[in-house]
């Protein structure tokens, strides 16, 4: 039987790598160390595949056709593309996908009532490129993705994201294989991007989220409304949906915050969390 052997949650932002020159280098070093510790533990867990809950930033999905949930059936992700590489100051590269695994997830979803969209092509922005730069430097483990609309409202409810995550968890455990799966979510915590409050970070809300993750108390996160998140976590805080979905794959697992840093230059409350069984 397939098994979830690791789970982790972490922020993404293009300037995490795009602007390493920050006023408080100790914040940067602490946060980078968090990514590297996840890398170390991930390698030790020996996953065959990494399942990632992420969100697009209007790079792939446009207002002409906007999916709430979209399964990646991608052979290889641009992570990043040559264009994205400049701003993120990363080398352009491809990261292997898991299209057969994604197709199995898609078909099972459709058969039980999760009507996912799907895509055969993804040019990732920071949602994959930045964390995988640290976690998967050799691009040697295939990545499956489920894209959740966190950036083009109206958005799916956190409650629905929880249900989708729970479905993905049960899908993994129902697989007639011995594959070892790592589940990751990227995004959050609070950030205001491109709004009149651009650059704001709400440390209080970030700690509120981390506190619930630490205690495996997911219900208050699943109960959040778009308005509450927009008010307390900003438009970027809406990415907490990815975390809620990942948490639902591993009910009862408790988070260990490896690092938290509200980095002003990255305009994001940045956290890395490892989940313990």
């Amino acid at each position: 039987m397939a098994e979830i052997v690791a789970a982790a949650l972490m922020s993404h932002a293009p300037l995490i790598t795009g602007k390493p020159e920050v006023q408080k280098p100790e914040q940067r070093d602490r946060f980078y160390a968090g990514y590297r510790e996840i890398r170390r533990r991930l390698v030790a867990a020996r996953p065959d595949l990494i399942m990632m809950f992420v969100n697009d930033h209007l790079q792939n999905f446009a207002y002409s056709n906007m999916p709430a949930f979209c399964v990646g059936l991608v052979d290889a992700y641009d992570a990043p593309s040559p264009g994205g590489a400049r701003l993120m100051r990363l080398p352009a590269r491809k990261v292997p996908g898991a299209p057969d695994w994604g197709m199995a997830l898609l078909e099972e979803g459709l058969s039980v009532g999760f009507d996912f969209a799907y895509t055969y092509e993804v040019e990732s922005w920071d949602e994959l490129s930045v964390p995988l730069h640290f976690l998967l430097p050799d691009a040697d483990i295939p990545v499956a993705t489920l894209y959740i609309n966190c950036g083009a409202p109206p958005l799916p409810t956190p409650r629905r994201c929880h249900a989708v995550g729970a479905f993905v968890g049960s899908f993994i455990q129902s697989r007639p294989t011995t594959e070892r799966i790592a589940v990751l979510a990227t995004g959050g915590l609070s950030h205001w991007v491109g709004t009149p409050d651009n650059g704001r970070i709400n440390e209080e809300w970030d700690h509120w989220v981390l506190d619930h993750v630490t205690r495996a108390d997911v219900e208050p996160l699943a109960r959040l409304t778009w308005e509450e998140i927009e008010r307390d976590g900003g438009n970027g805080g809406q990415e907490i949906r990815n975390w809620v979905a990942a948490l639902a794959t591993v009910p009862g697992w408790k988070g260990e915050t490896l690092a938290y840093a509200p980095v002003a230059e990255w305009i994001t409350g940045c956290a890395t969390v490892w989940m313990h069984r």
Binding site: L58, Y63, R86, A152, P153, V193, G194, T195, W226
Partner: protein, 72 residues
Amino acid sequence: MTRKTSYGLNKLLTGLAKEHATRERMTEADLAGHTLNADERAALESGDITRLYHLGANPYLIRRVFRPRFKV
């Protein structure tokens, strides 16, 4: 009810963001062929990022395209 969305603004900005293009302000050529009202045109041509937000442009797209307008 979530916030106001302008399809015209977002369609224009999406095209530029996909090309990784940035602007301080839009030119007549940028706007050619797009369906935009007078307020939207004025905000684009002056690079008024706050006004664009209130007119229903997606903030991620405002950030991407009008990057030079942001202090942080």
